[in-house]
């Protein structure tokens, strides 16, 4: 297991130059849907067959009709009727099978979208803290909103249709060339040109889509932070500043979007013009041939009908090229996330630790976020029933210690053991069941109070939820609300006061009855009186548990069995309250500050 940090460059999406790999992956995903693929491809062949039969029938009809003009007998008249009916049949069959293959294409695309959504969701849940703190959620959400759709759209509009087009054009080529070499070649002369244009446009569009999606991510970020920080924005009345920020990002997206319009417009116009030129040439040379009698009018009509059938796919080509380009850009951005390895991995044959007692030991643990060492040689031991208190100035590394225990990060050196077992050898789930950290800035979910309290164990009994909320002094508040436990908690808990949010997240943790519980400054917004009540209530609940209390309020942790004073990632002082006071250093200085009334 390496604890190396992921360089930021690796977090970025795949560069736009490696699209073929992206296509291969998407195609592989598509091929898995065997049933849809099978029926889709069969339907394609049938649909293309009927599609090609139609011009032949039309040619026949025209020829027969021109014969009628000269001969006029009943037999030809009847055969015209037959051809008419055959055309009806061919046309409706073409519709049926075109519909069928389109349905299959859509279905594959939707299934891939569904699959990607699940994979993406699962991946993001598993990626470690280090990943998430380096990448903006707005970026990840943009990928979920726009890039999954980009891939799915590519599959839906271009996957099977490409096969259809190739088949149609291939067979068509054979047929027209067989009918008349010169005219056939002329009627197909636009295809190489179209192919070249499409490839070129696709390349340009791909890099443009790629840039556009990146800019979209930035725009999302700005909007996301504007709404998340709405109280800051309002309190500084900085709306105009925010709008300016938005405008400059928005302008860049517009610029890129206009770029795409340029590429697409010229591309589509040139493609359809090249098609029309071929048609004009067929008309010209074919007309001359009819005049000098080397082909008859029916054959010319076949050619023209064939070309008019190709017109629709040609028009669609522009859309498909765009879908290809977007698919590659979006796919690259998605796969770069899906390919990330979670930094924290479970070993093979990891031990299940559910039954552990909860003896926690730090053994010379050092850790650094970005090279620099944040924690240096931390050692301590905490036994069930014991409490460790941690104090220290901001940024000294207290939360970092808390984050190492459930393996949100892995220590760079030294080891952390529970009941003597290195936590790296333990099943991740069982470790995190055993250890619960009440985060300093806890996240509440947009759900009812009940669902929030039971977040870690949705099977909890009503009474468990009630007890947890009683222990955190929330019960009286909750039952006085109109909807009681069903009251919705706003996003991140906006509809609660600071202290209520903290207490709810304590309740959420103690409901799980973890063996080791870490309170990371989790009562800073709770008044001393309420905190006192919580401590008394928790004393009973945490009797046989190992507690770690991080706090700036010394009254919260002065009864701890051992108090660690941390500064710059090192333990500067340790011992119980009396001892530290008697030493008369930093801890006692803090203590003085908190108890003595300020004397000027």
């Amino acid at each position: 297991m390496s604890t190396k940090k992921i360089p930021y460059s690796k977090l970025k999406a795949e560069s736009p130059n490696t699209a073929s790999g992206t296509y291969v992956r998407i195609i592989k995903m598509g091929i898995k849907y065997k049933v849809q693929m099978f029926f889709g491809i069969i339907a394609i062949f049938i649909a293309a067959g009927f599609q090609l039969w139609i011009p032949i029938l039309i040619g026949d009809a025209v020829e027969k009709i021109s014969e009628i003009v000269s001969e006029s007998d009943d037999a030809t008249n009847r055969s015209v009727t037959t051809i008419g009916l055959l055309l009806l049949f061919a046309s409706s069959m073409r519709g049926l099978f075109t519909g069928l293959y389109n349905y299959m294409g859509e279905s594959i695309g939707q299934h891939i979208g569904y699959e990607l959504r699940l994979l993406y969701y699962e991946k993001l849940q598993r990626l470690s803290f280090s990943y998430h703190s380096n990448i903006h959620s707005g970026d990840l959400i943009t990928r979920a909103l726009l890039d999954i759709e980009g891939v799915s759209m590519f599959v839906r509009t271009a996957f099977l249709r490409t096969i259809f087009m190739f088949f149609l054009i291939g067979t068509g080529t054979y047929m027209v060339i067989k009918a008349d070499l010169v005219l056939g070649l002329i009627s197909l002369s636009f295809i190489p040109f179209v192919g070249w244009r499409s490839i070129e446009a696709r390349l340009k569009l791909r890099s443009s889509w790629y840039k556009l999606q990146e800019k979209m991510s930035i725009l999302t970020k700005i909007m996301d932070e504007n709404m998340g920080g709405i109280r800051v924005v309002r309190s500084f009345f900085s709306q105009n500043y925010e709008i300016r920020k938005f405008d400059s990002a928005s302008k860049e997206t517009l610029y890129l979007a206009n770029d795409q319009v340029d590429i697409k417009s010229i591309n589509i116009s040139m493609i359809s013009t090249s098609f029309l030129i071929s048609m004009g040439l067929v008309l010209w040379i074919g007309g001359l041939k009819v005049i000098n009698g080397s082909i008859n009018i029916g054959e010319l009509a076949t050619f023209l009908a064939f070309m008019s059938i190709l017109q629709q796919p040609v028009r669609m080509l522009g859309m498909m090229v765009n879908a290809f380009a977007r698919g590659a850009a979006s796919g690259g951005r998605l796969f770069s996330v899906l390919d990330m390895e979670a930094e924290i991995q479970e070993k093979k044959g990891a031990i299940n630790l559910t039954k552990a007692k909860g003896i926690l030991k730090f053994n010379n643990v050092s850790f650094g976020y970005e090279g620099e060492r944040t924690l240096k040689n931390i050692s301590f031991e905490a036994k069930p029933g014991h409490t460790i208190g941690i104090v220290g100035p901001p940024g000294s590394g207290k939360s970092t210690i808390a984050h190492l225990i459930p393996r949100f990060y892995d220590a760079t050196s030294g080891e952390i053991t529970i009941d003597g077992i290195n936590i790296k050898d333990v099943q991740l789930d069982s470790l995190r069941h055993l250890v619960s950290v009440v985060e300093q800035d806890s996240f509440l979910f947009t759900a009812s109070i009940e669902h929030n309290v039971a977040y870690g164990n949705p099977w909890a009994e009503d009474t468990d939820v009630e007890i947890a909320s009683k222990n955190t002094q929330m019960y009286n508040y909750i039952i006085n609300l109109p909807d009681k436990f069903n009251t919705m908690v706003g996003e991140r808990g906006v509809s609660l006061s600071g202290g209520q949010r903290q207490r709810l997240s304590i309740a959420r943790s103690i409901l799980l009855r973890p063996k080791i519980i870490v309170f990371d400054d989790s009562t800073s917004a709770v008044d001393a009186a309420t905190e006192q009540k919580i401590r008394i209530a928790l004393k009973e609940a945490t009797k046989n548990r190992t507690s770690i209390i991080i706090s700036h309020r010394l009254s919260s942790l002065m009864h701890a069995d051992e108090i660690l004073f941390i500064e710059s990632g090192e333990i500067q002082e340790r011992g119980n309250h009396e001892y530290l006071i008697s030493k008369g250093k930093k801890y006692s200085e803090l203590y003085e500050l908190q108890i003595r009334p300020k004397i000027n």
């Binding site: 039309i58 009709i65 009628i68 003009v69 009727t81 009806l88 061919a90 519909g99 279905s107 299934h111 569904y114 969701y121 699962e122 849940q125 598993r126 703190s133 380096n134 707005g138 759709e149 979209m216 999302t220 909007m223 996301d224 504007n226 109280r231 800051v232 309190s235 900085s238 709306q239 417009s265 359809s272 029309l276 048609m279 004009g280 010209w284 007309g287 009018i297 023209l304 017109q311 629709q312 100035p393 901001p394 939360s399 949100f408 789930d429 950290v437 985060e439 947009t446 759900a447 039971a454 870690g456 006061s497 600071g498 400054d521 917004a525 700036h552 930093k586 803090l590 908190q594 009334p597």
Partner: protein, 628 residues
């Protein structure tokens, strides 16, 4: 084909990831609303000129497209019948054809580029309208919505419109094309034209039956998609809690159900759009065979030329192609309408807190604040602050204390008019806050929020924020005042260190210091500190307080803190309980009162064994004096 992979036997009873709040997605019943289309009009207005040009381009494009089969007809006629002068007419036809191609190319190009660019600009404008509106919408509304859902409107719905845009150029041309074709067909041979058009009523009938069902299916697909992205967004934001509480498996299984619902809804919608293909094609076939059989009959009777028949055959294809395409793009169209509705719905959210028409600028204030009988609550009939009255004199520092949830933060929010009060008056200086502009209020009242929020960007940018005149020296001074300078200098890039989302790469205390510095840089007459030092140790706090004493000299301060050490020095302490003021006075007065404050104060020590004896004694004596 659709069997859920998940055996859903044990649904967790107390879990959901599908949110159900204010902005319900289910309210979209009426897509296709004409009003929506009209409302886009407003956004198109600035582009009148471009729209006229694009119409001209579309017209030329359609005319040239319609004329090709016609030219072909003349060419064939000339090569078949016109024995005299054959070369001339034939050549003219061919030349006309190529001229048509040039017209087609130029008009096609301009049509694409004009409509495309106007469309992109309109989308950007729409998104901006939403964003600008969100800047004004009251907090009471924003509290009830989630960023993820907003984002699904700001990004997802705009993207859906964009997709629509790419098909609208085609669709618009098609519509003109169809009209043109009908025109030409009647011009060529009205009998044959009637035969061919005969199937159109059937098509209309089919659509009338099909439409309501299809619409429902499309809306369902859109709504389920929005729910899925909402759930995904929240999981991303709360991923730390998800992992810490090992909710991954439960969330995954809940998410799978939502995603699967979406898949099913999409599939049903697809069936509706696909079913139209065989129908339209069968009708095409009927038209074709009618033309061939009927046309053949007419030709034998000598009533029709062969060229006309060929032209008809070509037109049939051109006629039904757009119809087929329109059907295929119907889902796009439908989605665009639903999205348009969601976008305008956001733009229509009423603004509750807004400047009065005759609002004045708040300037040269002395800094006094007065609450007169203020009552306020977030939920109807549930007042959080009840009949609050107090006055803060210019230059005073007042502390608000009280148990959690007693309404302290709410008072600060009201001072800044985040919400409008139910009853009473709030005065700043000699002005009622409802009578002044919000902008000038923002310039005079600075705030450090209870939850520090930082933006992605450098530390420098964060402290500076919207204060464009602030210099680097000002920023460094502010950072020094709050004791942040030291840690900032230790960072690899000091003030230019980039903070990640919400400042997640520095500690919470450090975040709090930076948000504190940001408020100081704003240099306002009134400064509100809502637990600005709650996550900071007492030593650092003492240093801050020393600096702050100087800073607050000519300012009015409103300070909230639970740590009593923080507030002891205040000129006045206001004790709140359950939204009511229970005690006011300075530290000594309140201690001697023996009420909640003195109880809290002693509790803060209660666990300390050595509360100074003289303190207890004096407190007790003062209480006695009070009683007597």
């Amino acid at each position: 084909m659709f069997k859920s992979k998940l055996k859903y036997s044990n649904t967790p009873p107390k879990a959901s990831i599908k949110r159900n709040t204010f902005f319900d997605d289910e309210i979209f019943g009426v897509a296709y609303d004409q009003k929506i289309i009209l409302r886009f009009g407003k956004y198109l207005k600035p582009f009148r000129k471009q729209i006229i040009y694009s119409f001209i381009a579309v017209l030329f494009f359609s005319i040239s497209s319609v004329s090709f089969p016609l030219i072909i007809k003349f060419t064939i006629d000339s090569s078949l019948y016109n024995v005299t002068n054959i070369d001339n007419i034939f050549l003219i036809c061919i030349v006309t054809f190529f001229i048509g191609i040039i017209v087609n190319f130029i008009s096609g190009y301009f049509q694409e580029i004009i409509i495309g660019k106007v469309g992109e600009k309109v989308l950007v404008d729409l998104r901006k309208s939403m964003f600008v509106h969100l800047q004004k919408v009251s907090l009471s509304f924003m509290d009830k919505t989630e960023i993820g859902r907003m984002m699904s409107r700001l990004q997802g719905d705009v993207a859906a419109l964009q997709e629509f845009l790419h098909t609208i150029t085609v669709g618009l041309g098609d519509l003109i094309l169809i009209t043109g074709i009908i025109f030409v067909l009647f011009f060529l041979d009205w009998k044959l034209a009637l035969m061919m058009i005969g199937v159109v009523p059937t098509l209309l009938l089919v659509r009338i039956i099909w439409l309501p069902h299809a619409r429902k299916a499309f809306i369902k697909s859109r709504v389920t998609a929005s729910i899925v992205s909402g759930a995904l967004a929240e999981n991303i934001n709360g991923v730390r809690a998800v992992q810490g509480l090992t909710r991954e498996k439960v969330n995954y299984s809940l998410f799978e159900v939502l995603a699967h619902d979406n898949l099913k809804a999409q599939n049903i919608a697809t069936r509706f759009s696909v079913i139209m293909m065989p129908i339209v094609d069968t009708l095409t076939g009927i038209s074709l065979s009618v033309i061939i059989i009927g046309g053949g009959f007419l030709i034998t009777k000598g009533n029709l030329e062969i060229g006309v028949l060929v032209a008809f055959i070509l037109y049939v294809q051109r006629f039904f192609d757009p119809i087929r395409a329109l059907t295929m793009h119907y889902s796009v169209f439908q989605r665009a309408m639903a999205s348009g509705e969601r976008i305008f719905e956001l733009i229509d959210v009423p603004i509750e807190v807004k400047d009065k028409a005759n609002a004045v600028k708040l300037k040269n204030i002395d800094g006094s604040i007065e609450f007169k009988n203020v009552t306020f609550g977030y939920i109807e009939k549930q007042p959080v602050l009840k009949n609050i009255s107090f006055k803060i004199n210019p230059g005073e520092t007042v502390a608000l204390v009280g148990p959690t949830g007693s309404g302290k933060t709410s008072i600060t929010s009201l001072t800044h008019r985040f919400y409008d009060i139910w009853e009473g008056e709030i005065m700043i200086g000699d002005k009622e806050i409802k009578s002044v502009t919000q902008k000038s209020l923002g310039e005079n009242v600075g705030m450090v929020l209870q939850e520090p929020f930082l933006f992605t960007g450098s530390i420098l940018e964060n402290i500076k924020y919207s204060q464009s005149k602030t210099t680097r020296a000002d920023i460094v001074n502010a950072a020094k005042a709050v004791g942040a300078h030291e840690f900032i200098m230790k960072l690899p890039k000091t003030y230019d260190t980039i903070l990640e989302q919400r400042g997640s790469n520095i500690s919470l205390g450090q975040r709090q210091l930076i948000s504190f510095a940001r408020a100081i840089v704003a240099d306002t007459k009134i400064l509100i500190l809502d637990e600005a030092t709650a996550s900071i140790d007492s030593y650092t706090e003492m240093l801050i307080q020393r600096a702050l004493a100087k800073l607050l000299e000519n300012r009015t301060g409103m300070v909230i803190a639970h740590r009593l050490a923080t507030i002891r020095g205040a000129d006045k302490i206001i004790v709140l309980q359950d939204g009511k003021i229970t005690e006011t006075g300075n530290h000594d007065e309140l201690i001697s009162l023996g009420g909640l404050y003195s109880k809290m104060f002693s509790l803060n020590y209660s666990s300390f064994d050595d509360i100074p004896d003289e303190l207890i004694k004096s407190a007790a004596e003062e209480t006695k004096e009070n009683v007597t």
